[in-house]
C-alpha cells in the first residue's frame, strides 16, 4: 500500500513538475467555463422568455436545464483532456528507462499500475474540484438541488476512472507518448460512439450496445439517479482495464 501511494504521489508530482499538469488543468477549466457561460446564458434567456408568458422566474429548473447539460458536456470534455493525462504514464517511463527502476524494485506490477491509476485520478479530481467552484457560484443566483450535482460528480469520477484505466492500458503498450495519446483518444471515441450505432440498430442490439457504451451509463448520474447497476458497470470496467494493463506489462516483460 505504501509502495502504491509512493508511486501515486510520484505521478501526481510529475504532472505538476512540468507545465503539463497546469496546462491540462487550465485547459479543462477554460473549456468548462465556456460551456458554463453558454448554458447559463441560454438558461437565463429562456427563463426570461418564460416569465414574459406569465410564469414565475423559478418555473425553469436550474438542475434540469443547466446543470444536467453542463455535466453531460463535461463528460465530452474529459474525452479530449484525459488522454493527455494518461499518455505519458507508461510511455515516458519506457522512453527514459525509469521503467527499469520500477520493475526491478520489490513491488508488484499491480501495485505500480494502481499507483499510476491513483495518481492520474488525483489530478482528475483536482480538475473536477475546479469546476465545483463554478457550481458553487450557481447558488448565488438560484437554488439548485445538491443531489443531482453530487451524483453527477460521482458519475464523472467513475466515467473518468474508466477513461484513465483505458489510457493506462494503451500507454503500457507503446513507448511513444504521441502514439499513446492518439490511440487513447481513438479508443475513448469508439467507446463513446457505440451508443450512436445502437440508435440505428434493432431493439435487442440497441440494449446491448447501450449497455456497452461507456457514456450511456452516465445519463442517470446526471439526472440525479444513483443506480448500483451503473456503479457496478463502471467499477468492473476499471478493474478490467487495470487487469489488462497488468497483462500487457507482463507480456511486455517477455519481449524486453
Amino acid at each position: 500500500m505504501s509502495n502504491t501511494l509512493a508511486i501515486a504521489g510520484k505521478e501526481l508530482r510529475g504532472y505538476f513538475a512540468s507545465p503539463m499538469g497546469w496546462v491540462i488543468l487550465g485547459l479543462f477549466a477554460l473549456l468548462f467555463g465556456f460551456f458554463y457561460y453558454t448554458f447559463m446564458d441560454l438558461f437565463v434567456r429562456q427563463s426570461m422568455q418564460l416569465s414574459q408568458f406569465g410564469q414565475g422566474p423559478q418555473a425553469m429548473n436550474v438542475n434540469q436545464y443547466m446543470i444536467r447539460p453542463l455535466l453531460q458536456n463535461t463528460s465530452v470534455i474529459i474525452l479530449f483532456v484525459l488522454p493527455m493525462i494518461t499518455m505519458r504514464t507508461y510511455a515516458e517511463e519506457k522512453r527514459s528507462g525509469t521503467i527499469e527502476l520500477l520493475l526491478t524494485s520489490p513491488v508488484t506490477d499491480l501495485q505500480i499500475i494502481v499507483g499510476k491509476f491513483l495518481g492520474a485520478m488525483a489530478l482528475y479530481t483536482a480538475m473536477l474540484l475546479v469546476t465545483a467552484v463554478y457550481m458553487g457560484l450557481l447558488y448565488r443566483f438560484g437554488d439548485p438541488e445538491v443531489g443531482p450535482i453530487a451524483s453527477g460528480y460521482l458519475g464523472l469520477l467513475l466515467l473518468g476512472g474508466c477513461f484513465i484505466a483505458v489510457g493506462l492500458l494503451v500507454s503500457s503498450m507503446t513507448k511513444n507518448q504521441i502514439v499513446a495519446g492518439m490511440a487513447t483518444f481513438g479508443t475513448f471515441l469508439m467507446l463513446w460512439v457505440v451508443s450512436w450505432i445502437g440508435d440505428s440498430a434493432g431493439p435487442t442490439m440497441r440494449t446491448v450496445l447501450s449497455y456497452l457504451s461507456i457514456t450511456d451509463h452516465f445519463d442517470d448520474f446526471s439526472k440525479g439517479i444513483i443506480d448500483t447497476k451503473h456503479i457496478v458497470y463502471y467499477l468492473s470496467f476499471i478493474t478490467l482495464g487495470l487487469f489488462l494493463t497488468a497483462k500487457a506489462v507482463d507480456s511486455e516483460r517477455w519481449r524486453g
Partner: protein, 319 residues
C-alpha cells in the same frame, strides 16, 4: 550468493544469452566482460527480475528470481545502463522516492538516503533536478539509488561508461569500497576495467561464456602464453612430468580423465609452437596421443574484439 544455471534468453530468433552458467561468492566482485551485443545487459536484466529467462534458473541471495521475485529484488541493487532518473525530481526527492518503493521503513529512509548520498558523493547536488545533472553525477546518483536499501547484491551495468578518466577512477574506487559488504557483478566491454576492479571475470561473447578466471590468469593467458589441450593414454606413466620437461612449457594442468585417457592443459611461452616436440615425445614413450589442439586462440580473439571496441561506438544503447 549468485548462482546462474544454464540461463538462456531468446528474443524471437535472436539468442541473446545462450546457456550461461556461473556463480559469484559472497563479497566478491565479478566482472562481466564482453563486446557490445554479447548479452551482458540481458543477463543482468534477468538477474534483477526485469525480464524472465526463456530457460534456466537464477538464484540471487538465496532466492530464485523467477519464483520469489520480491524477496530477490529486496536484496538486489541495480544500476541499469542508463541511470533510471526522473528529470523533474531533485536528487533528494528522487532518492526518497526510491527509498519508499524499495520498502524501507519510514524511520530508516532519511538516514539511508543521507548515507547513500555521502558514499557516492552527490550530497552537494541534493537539491538539483536530476535532469540538469552532468553525466558523471547522473551515474553517481544512479549508484546511490542502487545501494540505497543496502542490498546484499549489486548489479552494475557498465558503471563507468561515458565518464571521463578522473570520474572512472573515482567510480572504480567507490565500487571497490562497496565490495565486502556487497556481492557485486559489474559489466564492461573494457579489458583494463576488470583487471583493476574485479577478482574474477566471466568473459561472454555472442551470449556464451567463453572463459571464467581471475584477471591475472586471463591476462597471462592472453599476453604471455598460449595454451594447448592434450589428451593421452599413458597407462600408468606420468605424462605430466614429461610435458613439464619439454622446452617452452610454463605450466601443465590436468583437466580430467576417463577410460584411461588423461586430458591436460599445457601452457607455453608465446610464439613457440611445441606441438611437434610434444607429439614426438609422446610417440617416443609409446603412449597413445588421442587429441592435441591449441585452445588459447579463441580467447585471444575475443580479447581483441573486446579491446578494440573500447571507443565511443560502444555508447550506442538499445532496448
Amino acid at each position: 550468493m549468485i548462482e546462474v544455471n544454464h540461463l538462456t534468453k531468446r528474443f524471437g530468433r535472436v539468442t541473446a544469452v545462450d546457456d550461461v552458467t556461473f556463480r559469484v561468492e559472497r563479497g566478491e566482485i565479478l566482472g562481466f566482460l564482453g563486446p557490445n551485443g554479447a548479452g551482458k545487459t540481458t543477463t543482468m536484466r534477468i538477474l534483477t527480475g526485469y525480464m524472465p529467462a526463456t530457460d534456466g534458473t537464477a538464484v540471487v541471495a538465496g532466492f530464485n528470481v523467477f519464483e520469489q521475485p520480491l524477496d530477490a529484488k529486496r536484496r538486489t541493487g541495480y544500476l541499469p545502463e542508463t541511470p533510471p532518473l526522473y528529470p523533474d525530481m531533485t536528487v533528494r526527492e528522487y532518492l526518497d522516492f526510491v527509498a519508499r518503493i524499495k520498502g524501507l521503513p519510514p524511520a530508516e529512509r532519511r538516514p539511508r538516503v543521507d548515507t547513500a548520498m555521502e558514499r557516492t558523493r552527490v550530497a552537494d547536488v541534493r537539491d538539483r533536478h536530476c535532469g540538469k545533472l552532468s553525466k558523471g553525477y547522473r551515474q553517481r546518483v544512479g549508484l546511490a539509488q542502487a545501494i540505497l536499501h543496502n542490498p546484499e547484491v549489486l548489479i552494475l551495468d557498465e558503471p563507468t561508461a561515458g565518464l571521463d578518466p578522473k570520474q572512472i577512477i573515482e567510480t572504480r574506487e567507490l565500487i571497490k569500497g562497496l565490495a565486502g559488504d556487497h556481492t557485486i557483478i559489474l559489466s564492461t566491454h573494457i579489458l583494463p576495467e576488470v583487471s583493476q576492479t574485479c577478482q574474477r571475470v566471466v568473459i561472454i561473447n555472442k551470449g556464451r561464456v567463453v572463459a571464467v578466471d581471475t584477471p591475472a590468469n586471463l591476462t597471462k593467458r592472453l599476453r604471455g602464453s598460449e595454451m594447448l589441450y592434450v589428451e593421452v593414454d599413458a597407462g600408468a606413466a606420468d605424462a605430466r612430468a614429461l610435458f613439464e620437461r619439454l622446452p617452452g612449457v610454463t605450466r601443465v594442468g590436468e583437466t580430467g580423465r576417463h577410460d584411461g585417457a588423461v586430458g591436460y592443459e599445457v601452457e607455453t611461452v608465446r610464439g613457440q609452437d611445441i606441438r611437434r616436440d610434444l607429439a614426438r615425445a609422446v610417440v617416443h614413450e609409446g603412449w597413445g596421443l588421442l587429441e592435441l589442439r591449441p585452445t588459447g586462440m579463441s580467447l585471444e580473439e575475443i580479447f581483441l574484439q573486446v579491446t578494440t571496441s573500447e571507443e565511443p561506438v560502444a555508447e550506442v544503447s538499445h532496448e
